[in-house]
């Protein structure tokens, strides 16, 4: 109430409320899983339809899938390098596609129309749990990439130009997932909030340009997350001379 000293009888803005599901003694955010399943379902449906009958002369959805594949390959190849990008392409691609479809789903689908007992449906990436999960997966993968490619020599990276870098590089291991997760979370949540607040203040016309901006931000954030993940992995497998 502190943010909005007015009373709007026709709209409601809910932030930080969740639909809790109880799994044994674990509590999870139901609304995040519901939308993430829809996102995953949409992705899998697209992929299954597009790869059902693949030909040398692509037709229909196969074109889209090949475009995406090519885009992800270029992204992975430029950031990770020719040698190992193949191993990491599925991970980078999954991150990109999952975040992109989540963000756009959150921006395009009118989730608000579905009423939940508590909380509301929205992009899975607008929940800090999702973004931190993704960011920690990125951290694990770059460690794994470095260690599996170079063994213990991976730790040379920490003292690479000079040993003075050691503390900074150690701090980086913490700031990388932090910045990854908060950047994505903050952008998507902020976009949803701005749109919600605008809809709720001026329900006509005015939110539309902001929604377009939101679509743009969503796409950019997916690209940034995937690119940075690839860059971190590339940095870990890079050979210093």
């Amino acid at each position: 109430m502190g943010f909005f000293p007015f009373v709007f009888p026709f709209a409601e803005l809910e932030v930080g409320q969740h639909l809790y599901w109880q799994l044994g003694n674990l509590r999870i955010h139901g609304q995040v899983f519901m939308t993430s399943w829809i996102v995953i379902g949409a992705l899998l449906a697209l992929v299954v339809i597009g790869t059902k009958k693949m030909e040398r002369d692509p037709r229909g959805v196969q074109n889209l899938l090949e475009f995406l594949w090519d885009y992800i390959r270029d992204l992975a190849r430029t950031q990770i390098g020719e040698k190992v990008y193949r191993d990491w392409m599925p991970f980078i691609g999954t991150l990109f596609l999952f975040i992109f479809v989540s963000n756009w789903g959150g921006a395009l689908v009118p989730w608000r129309l579905i009423h939940l007992p508590s909380g509301e449906l929205g992009a899975p990436t607008a929940d800090i749990n999702t973004t931190v999960a993704l960011a920690l997966l990125v951290s694990l993968s770059y460690f794994y990439a470095g260690l599996s490619n170079k063994g213990l020599r991976y730790f040379e990276y920490y003292v690479h130009p000079t040993p003075i870098m050691l503390p900074f590089k150690i701090v980086e291991d913490f700031t990388k997932p932090l910045s990854l997760s908060f950047r994505l979370f903050g952008n998507i949540l902020a976009d949803e909030l701005v749109v919600a607040v605008l809809v709720f203040l001026v329900p006509l016309v005015l939110p539309v340009p902001v929604m377009f901006l939101g679509l743009f931000t969503s796409a950019i954030q997916a690209l940034i997350f995937a690119t940075l993940a690839a860059y971190y992995i590339g940095e870990a497998v890079e050979e210093h001379h």
């Binding site: 899983f33 995953i40 992929v47 790869t51 693949m54 594949w69 090519d70 599925p90 800090i128 749990n129």
Partner: protein, 153 residues
């Protein structure tokens, strides 16, 4: 009713970490494997097959083009050669026919000259013979006339 629950809420809040985090991570890892099997591998195979196909067809086409160019050059050389030899044959034939013409002309002229000479000689000899005969006849006649005149006297 506006409800903004931000930090520090006991129930919920923006930074409410719970089992959603690990479960979401597991979900994304599973999605990675599923997408790898259903999307990245098959599409990659198709794209790379096509790339290989395009590369080999390009190489093939290039080779064929080179072959065609070589053949074309050969044919052009042959054509040039043929044209040259034809030219030579024509020149030779012209020369030959010229010579034949000249020879024939010379022969005919010589023959004509010879027969003319021959004819003239014959004419000459016959004329001489005729003149001689005439002379002899006139001599005889003269003698006869003289004899008759002498006898009449």
């Amino acid at each position: 009713m506006t409800t903004l629950l931000l930090f520090g809420a006991t129930e919920g809040g923006l930074f409410d970490f719970d089992a959603t985090l690990p479960l979401m991570a597991v979900q994304v890892v599973l999605l990675t494997f599923i997408l790898n099997a259903l999307f990245f591998k098959p599409v990659g195979r198709v794209v790379e097959e096509r790339e290989a196909y395009v590369t080999t067809s390009r190489a093939d086409a290039k080779q064929k083009l080179a072959q065609v160019e070589k053949l074309e050059k050969e044919l052009r050389d042959q054509l040039k050669e043929a044209r040259n030899s034809a030219q030579k044959v024509i020149e030779e034939a012209e020369k030959d026919s010229d010579q034949l013409y000249r020879e024939a002309l010379a022969l005919a002229t010589a023959e004509a000259n010879a027969s003319r000479e021959h004819a003239r000689r014959e004419i000459d000899s016959q004329r001489d013979a005729a003149l001689n005969q005439l002379k002899a006849d006139s001599d005889k006649l003269g003698d006869l006339i003289v004899e008759r005149l002498l006898a009449a006297k």
